[in-house]
Amino acid sequence: MTATTDVLTTDLHADLAHGHGDRGINTALLGMLLFIASEIMFFAGLFAAYFSVRAKYGSHWPALPEGVEFAINPLVVLATVILLSSSGVIQWGLWRIRKGDRRGLNRAFALTMLMGLTFLAFQATDYVLLADEGISLNGSIFGSLFFTMTGFHGAHVLGGVIGIGIILSRGMTGQFSARNHVAVEAVSAYWHFVDVVWIFLFLTLYILR
């Protein structure tokens, strides 16, 4: 019959390899962006809980047990600066591999990983200090919100660090090139997301109290 109305088998298979033609965003990156959208909604649920409770308290916030004060630790400011800068570093690494510079990618990702781990270490220290002051997950609504929100963010930082570690180990075996580096794009998108969540967390929990 008429082959004109048919897509040839070979074309079809070639199409499938690239998702029916190579137009638009890469499929894996699209998947990551959709995943990030769902993650945003997860944090949105926690933020909604925070503001819904916060609204009831007016100036009596943070709601903590008698005699307990919540103050910002300089360590947290430092951690924030480190995390935010790491977004620039990972982006630099992405730009390097887009130009085909594998060594640049690996250096940038190693540094980002180190910065992420530093952030986590500082956060853990902050947790210990807060616990000493009597602020913890149980016992107060502020504590519940604070540790749940920052804790889940910390877990996401850890997830990002693991992702960066995988990219790094693949990068060191030379698996990425200027044409083929979608995993790098996806992990950096995720890392930026983790960063943006922290900006909102930092502003909400520490600054706009």
């Binding site: 019959m1 033609g21 995943f35 909604m41 709601a63 519940s144």
Partner: protein
Amino acid sequence: MATTALSPRAGAYPRSRVYEWLTTTDHKKIGIMYITSAYIFFLIGGLMALAIRTELAAPGTQFLDPDIFNQAFTMHGTTMVFFFVMPMLAGFANYIVPLQIGAADMAFPRINALSFWIIPVSALLLFSSFALGGAAAGGWTSYTPLSEAKYAGTGQDLWLAGLLLNGVSSILGAINILATIFKLRAPGLTMLRLPIFVWTVLVTSVLLIFAVPVLASGLVMLFIDRNYGGAFFDPAAGGDTVLWQHVFWFFGHPEVYILILPAFGIISEVLPVFSRKPLFGYKAFVVATVSIGILGFGVWAHHMFTTGAVFLPFFSITTFFISVPTGVKMFNWIATMWRGKLRFTTAMLFAVGFLASFLIGGLDGAFSASTPIDFAIQDTYWIVSHLHYVLFGGSAFGIMAATYYWFPKMTGRFLDERLGKVHFAIMFVGAHLTFFPMHLLGISGMPRRIQDYAPNAGWQDLNLLATIGSYLIGIGILVLLWNMFVTLRGPRTAGDDPWDANTLEWATTSPPPSYNFDRLPEIRSERPLFDLKHGGAGHAPALAPGEGSGR
């Protein structure tokens, strides 16, 4: 047929069929596993419903202790929502969407397998609670403080963990579906040529991505409350009980559309095929579907009118608004059938049964949107009636239509039409006999979620009627299972395109080869196969499906 012969099967590779199914990443096999497991959960949830109805058939305690009764209705609702309707529709989406858009598989086949295999694991978590001191008993909504540590045991924790895991499956599935629809469409298949089923699955997936994570946040907060001394929902510790309801229903109302939109899509595939007409108002239908998706996020507090914690006029008006696009669809469907050449196959009967039943459920919804009425019917059997009219008369009838409609594609065999009609008749009568009296019970004040009622309350006859109806539904399901059993032992007689249908899944063999298509017809409308067969758009020569492969 010749198309499959073009690409001969890979050489003998010795592995058992069981191994093949357990490790498959083929969207069709995964779809069938989703559908099969969802039917198993349908039976489990159905048995719980029968137990509930048996207890309520007469006043007094006959069958279930109050404690077990509470577990039964909680697990009935949870099972039907999260383990029957959602995986069932995910299964049909899995099987049908790649075929309808002319793709060889989903965008992420291994994640697809992961999404499916999470379901049995999450079910194991949930159902193990029966053996570990009793299941959750606070209703499928698990309102605080009833679900807090003070009142609920380990079963509640397993409920939280099971649903959290189930949600991961839903989110991964939705991401996969969206990436598939956006990236793997065949050449020529523009967004406004997508089959309506694909459109409804697309909007459903967006809803899943935006709604399920919010439930997840609620689940972890409740888990922290229960296990680590959190204060989220505990007013004594500074938290807010009603907060749970907000979080739950911010998920819960989009969830309602998650459960019904794909059923809308199924109906919109079945009605045109068996009316021999295109769907009336394709674009209006797409706009209505998207509007429902958007408005669906603005109505959640109509579940909370009587809490006194929400702004009534806003949520009342948005709820009335959302009935408009749903009404548009009703007219789409009626106009599609209007002056059509109707063929009352079983799939068509269920589609028409859907229209009748869902209309009642929808009108109930518009009643409940009116706050004064809602204050009177809150937490009565009216609500039980309403939600079953939309979920059983809607989603479940849609699922039945899909089962009869796509069974020949999935297996190459027709389900027996005579048994099918018996199944439809019993189930249709049974459904209305079960759920219609609940309206009257609700208006006369019978509260939902009670294990017993006074003999002099005047609720006895209607309850007995509802119980008889529920047994009829059970018999109907047995007829369906028998039909499947008999059919699967019979020969493959269905052929590629048994219904003379419109969309691409019928342009390949039944069942399709693992790679789906050797070739695709040119796509110039939302009915490419119809164009191919009947020379639509005035170009293609008539080409019977399956005959177009000789080169």
